[in-house]
Structures are given as structure tokens and as C-alpha cells.
């Protein structure tokens, strides 16, 4: 570096300018990404019907009308919120248990057929949802689970990505600890619950967060299974608010849809703000370590 000091000062200046230009572009891009969310937030505090729906950077006549309307309308928004939280929590709980059990076995045990079973699990990760949609619906219907939370939850519990993720985490558990527990005479279940699980606690948090996000963001399957209005999730209910706003409905009420959007976004955004570290870890794991 010292050698080229004089010669490269020109290029250095050019680089400094290009760096500033890059930062300006990044800031503009970030603003563009956040712009819709900003307008949704302020739009939810405005009346945005018909000609009143013009853009305002700062709401001129802020009002809680949309929120009051939403909660006093015929739409059971409280129940939608309950559905979303219930489905995501229960799915996450069972998915974590299943992923830990399977991940542990794939990482730490050797047994006949291991390779093939693992390939099968990974292969299901590559297939599109639409490839199994119809038989899946017919199966759930046969089980009598249409219009039931379990019809949404059960198909999501065994999540290949989660199993793969836990296998990666479980590989970091030292074999010596497991062997030591075996020598001490601990049974398999005891080893799993008392030795292995406590060691992967932070990883469980990561998996739980990603699973919760996955389940919360699901939409198509919920739309197919949950037919009764009071069972809808936030996503399904919100989609109806949006389609009312865009479609043939006589009253086009954007403010109402945006208020719905804000309510739907609130829990997951709070979760993201508090657990950002785990979100990032969960997202990067598959690609960078796998």
C-alpha cells in the first residue's frame, strides 16, 4: 500500500466518490423499501375513501376511525388475530419438537437407511406447494379437518427446512457428552431431553422464530382450509379487505385495508425488532453452512 501511495491517489479519490454515490443509492433504495410501510401506517390513521385517498406525507386530519370501524364492523378482527397467533404458536411448538428429534438422529446416529431417509426429507424441500395441493386438500377433507385449525397446523409441522436446520445445529453437540451420558446409564429419551436439548437452546430459539414467521406468513393454505369467517387468520381476513378495496365493492376504503395491514403486521414486526439476531441467524443458516 505504501508503495503506490502517490500513484493511486487519483483512483482513491474516484473510489471515495463512487462510495458516496453507492451510499446515496442504498439510502434511496432503503427509503423506497420502507415507503409502502410508511404510507400504510399513516394511511391507517386517515380516511381514505374515494377522493379523500390522495397521498399525504403527514396526515392532515388524523383519526382512529379505521381502527374503530374495523373492530366494530361485522368483521371479527379479534378472532382473526387469535387464529393467526394460535395457529402459528401451535405449529411452531410441534415443528420444533419434530425438527429436534429428527435433526438429532440425522446428526448423531448411524443406522441402516439413514442416507435414503435424509435424501427423501431434503427432496420434499424442492417440490412446489402446488404439486401436492389438491391431494393434500382431499386428505385433509377426508380427515374432517376442513374449517379446523388442525387442518392448517398438521401439514406444516413436519417442515423439511426445519429438520435440515436442526441437523446442522445438532452436529455441533460434542459426541463426548452423549457418550458420557450413555456410560452413566442414561436412556435415549433422557439423553435427548436432558443432555442434547439444553445444549441447543439458542438454536431452538432460531428455529422457532423462523417457523413462526413461516406459519404467520402462510396464506394460500389457510384460504383453502378456513372457510368460516370467524376462523380466518389475519392474512385471510386482510386479503378480503384488500380485494373489497380493489374489486367491485361500492365503497373503496383504502384506509380500512391499511389499518388491517397495520394490525396484521404489528405482532410479527415486534417479534422481529426484539429477536432480530435470531431472524438473521435462521435466514443465513441454510445457505452459508449447508
Amino acid at each position: 500500500m505504501q508503495k503506490k501511495k502517490g500513484a493511486s491517489s487519483g483512483t482513491k479519490r474516484a473510489e471515495r466518490i463512487s462510495t458516496s454515490v453507492q451510499y446515496v443509492l442504498i439510502v434511496l433504495a432503503a427509503l423506497f423499501f420502507l415507503m409502502p410501510l410508511y404510507f400504510m401506517l399513516i394511511g391507517s390513521f386517515r380516511e381514505m375513501i374515494g377522493a379523500m385517498a390522495t397521498p399525504e406525507l403527514i396526515p392532515q386530519h388524523p383519526t382512529l376511525k379505521n381502527y374503530i370501524d374495523l373492530f366494530t364492523s361485522s368483521f371479527p378482527v379479534g378472532k382473526w388475530m387469535f387464529s393467526s397467533i394460535f395457529i402459528s404458536t401451535v405449529t411452531t411448538f410441534f415443528a420444533v419438537i419434530i425438527s429436534c428429534m429428527m435433526g438429532y438422529v440425522f446428526a448423531k446416529k448411524s443406522f441402516p437407511g439413514k442416507k435414503w431417509i435424509f435424501v427423501l426429507v431434503i427432496a420434499t424441500m424442492m417440490l412446489p406447494k402446488q404439486a401436492s395441493l389438491i391431494p393434500l386438500f382431499l386428505t385433509v377433507k377426508k380427515l374432517g379437518l376442513v374449517n379446523s385449525y388442525w387442518g392448517v397446523i398438521l401439514p406444516m409441522i413436519s417442515w423439511p427446512y426445519g429438520i435440515f436446520m436442526m441437523r446442522q445445529f445438532m452436529q455441533e453437540v460434542p459426541n463426548e457428552l452423549i457418550e458420557y451420558a450413555q456410560v452413566e446409564g442414561a436412556g435415549e429419551i433422557r439423553i435427548f431431553t436432558r443432555v442434547v436439548m439444553p445444549l441447543v437452546k439458542p438454536s431452538i430459539a432460531t428455529l422457532a422464530i423462523i417457523m413462526f414467521l413461516q406459519s404467520w406468513g402462510d396464506f394460500m393454505w389457510q384460504l383453502i382450509i378456513l372457510k368460516r369467517q370467524e376462523m380466518w387468520t389475519m392474512n385471510v381476513g386482510l386479503s378480503v379487505l384488500i380485494r373489497n378495496a380493489s374489486g367491485g365493492a361500492s365503497i373503496i376504503n383504502y384506509g380500512l385495508a391499511m389499518a388491517g395491514g397495520c394490525i396484521a403486521a404489528l405482532p410479527i414486526v415486534l417479534l422481529f425488532v426484539v429477536f432480530q439476531k435470531y431472524f438473521i441467524k435462521g435466514v443465513t443458516l441454510g445457505a452459508v453452512k449447508g
Binding site: 462510495t19 400504510m40 443406522f111 439413514k114 391431494p135
Partner: protein, 294 residues
């Protein structure tokens, strides 16, 4: 035979706990993931509707290849992939490349900003974009008119509807690849860059001769995942344009949903699903193969 079987069985009994641990998950996976895929293939050879179910051979596939709506949706999906996948990969690489050289607080702030739309999800995002695109009072036309342009019916004009959908998808999906690329770039040893800088390499050269080659496996991973995702594009189309105008934004994912759950033609929808799956597998395989040869 016996000599081989005995130890295998013995080993299986010895390791029985491994199978016990796998059992609940595998059971669910079989019922809800593996069996439906097999059944989809079987259904695609039937005319299954609400009241019939007969074997019809390849009739569904033959019908689809002369079905204008299906052909258009299939073509649309290729347009989506050709436009969105390169855009996602290039933009997220460039953004990650700038952020990775920044201070930690800048990194985490911008990472959060770009990831937030992904966190809130496609349905929430659609709730505001439907207004942004509004022909009379929406934000985009406000800007267009401010600069003296004519109002555009973004979602109802064949020329603008698909780019509009793509823009929404782009703002909604860039978060994940940015985070993954940043993690990958942070993993590259700084010595690699230092020695190249001493040799007088510029930032651009570093990017193309060190960052890109080292990150190649990660880029291939993102490329494959995004191809799979974009081919399945659905909810933004459903919410913003309903597939219109005149089918110009219809995706296969949405068409399958319509065929099955609006028209009740399960057999035909299964055939559409089979074609989509084969296409996705073919493209994933191609992108893997191409990446190995380059």
C-alpha cells in the same frame, strides 16, 4: 443372503431408538408431503371433479397444450422468472456488497430496513400497494402528474400490469438474499482482499475477481431458491390484479388454485401441478449444472 440380512436386522434393532425418533416426523411427512405428490401424478391422468373420477390417460395434458389460458400463464411465469430472478440476484449482491464494508450499526439498520417487508409478508404489502397503484388518487400517479405526465392505470393496463407486479415482488423478496449474501461476504477472509489491494486492485476488480468467485455456491443457492419461488408466485397476483388484465399477469400457481378450488377440476389442476413441478425441477437442475461448468 442370510449372512447379509442378519447383521442388518441386528443393527436395525440395536439402533431402534433412531427409528423411534424419526417415526412421528416421517409419518407426518409421508401423509402430508410425499403421498400428495405421488397422488398428484396419479390424479393428473383422471378427470377428477366433484362428481366424476375416471382414468383419461393423457387427455388433461393434451387439453392443456391447446389451452390458451394455460399457455399464457405458463409464458407469464417464464417472463416473471427471466425478469425477477436476475434482478433479485443482482440487486441483492450489489446492496450486500456496499453494506458489508460499512460500520456494524449501519449494517444492522439497513439489513433491518430491507428485511422488514419480507417480515410483514406479501398480503400486508399488497394492502398498501393496491393504493399506491390507484389510477386517480394513488401515490405513483400523483408523482407522474406532478411531473406533468398522464395518469396511468397501472394494474389495468396490459403494458404496465406485469412490471407493476414485479416491482412489488421485488420490494417484498430482496430481504432474504441480501442477508444471506452479507453473511457470505463477511465469511470471506480479509487477507484475500488485502493482498489484492496491495497489488493495486480496484473495488470493482475485488468484487468481480474475489467476491463473486468465492460466493459462487451461495449465488447458485439463491438462484435456485428464487427460481423455485418465482415459479410459484401467487398471492401478490391474486391480491393486486386477480390475474388480469386479460390474463397478462396470471401465474401458474394462481391458475392451479383457480382450476382446483374455483372450478373444481381437480384432475386438470393436478396435471397443471405436474407440469409446473417438472418445469421447476428442470430449471433447478439446469442452474446447478450451469454453475458447475462456468
Amino acid at each position: 443372503m442370510k449372512k447379509f440380512k442378519q447383521p442388518l436386522l441386528g443393527e436395525m434393532i440395536k439402533q431402534r431408538w433412531a427409528y423411534y425418533f424419526l417415526l412421528p416426523g416421517l409419518l407426518l411427512l409421508t401423509i402430508f408431503n410425499v403421498y400428495p405428490v405421488v397422488e398428484t401424478v396419479l390424479l393428473s391422468f383422471t378427470n377428477y371433479t366433484l362428481n366424476t373420477k375416471e382414468f383419461v390417460g393423457l387427455a388433461n395434458f393434451i387439453k392443456l397444450f391447446s389451452d390458451q389460458k394455460f399457455i399464457q400463464a405458463y409464458g407469464n411465469c417464464f417472463k416473471y422468472v427471466l425478469f425477477l430472478v436476475p434482478a433479485i440476484v443482482v440487486f441483492s449482491l450489489l446492496i450486500a456488497n456496499v453494506l458489508v464494508r460499512s460500520k456494524p450499526w449501519i449494517q444492522s439498520t439497513f439489513r433491518g430496513a430491507f428485511y422488514l417487508p419480507t417480515v410483514v409478508g406479501g398480503v400486508v404489502i399488497a394492502a398498501v400497494w393496491i393504493w399506491i397503484f390507484h389510477p386517480l388518487n394513488g401515490l405513483f400517479n400523483y408523482v407522474v402528474k406532478y411531473f406533468g405526465g398522464e395518469a396511468i392505470t397501472w394494474l389495468a393496463d396490459v403494458r404496465y400490469a406485469m412490471p407493476a407486479v414485479c416491482l412489488v415482488v421485488l420490494t417484498w423478496t430482496l430481504g432474504t438474499p441480501i442477508i444471506i449474501f452479507m453473511a457470505g461476504m463477511l465469511g470471506i477472509s480479509p487477507e484475500l482482499y488485502e493482498s489484492a489491494t496491495i497489488d493495486g486492485a480496484t473495488r470493482t476488480q475485488l468484487f468481480f475477481h474475489i467476491t463473486i468467485p468465492v460466493l459462487r455456491p451461495v449465488i447458485v443457492f439463491i438462484l435456485t431458491m428464487e427460481i423455485i419461488n418465482v415459479f410459484q408466485l401467487w398471492e401478490v397476483v391474486y391480491l393486486l390484479t386477480n390475474g388480469g388484465p386479460s390474463y397478462s399477469t396470471m401465474s401458474i400457481g394462481f391458475l392451479i388454485y383457480n382450476t382446483a378450488f374455483v372450478s373444481g377440476k381437480y384432475g386438470l389442476a393436478a396435471a397443471q401441478g405436474v407440469i409446473l413441478t417438472l418445469t421447476i425441477l428442470l430449471f433447478s437442475w439446469l442452474s446447478l449444472k450451469a454453475s458447475k461448468e462456468v
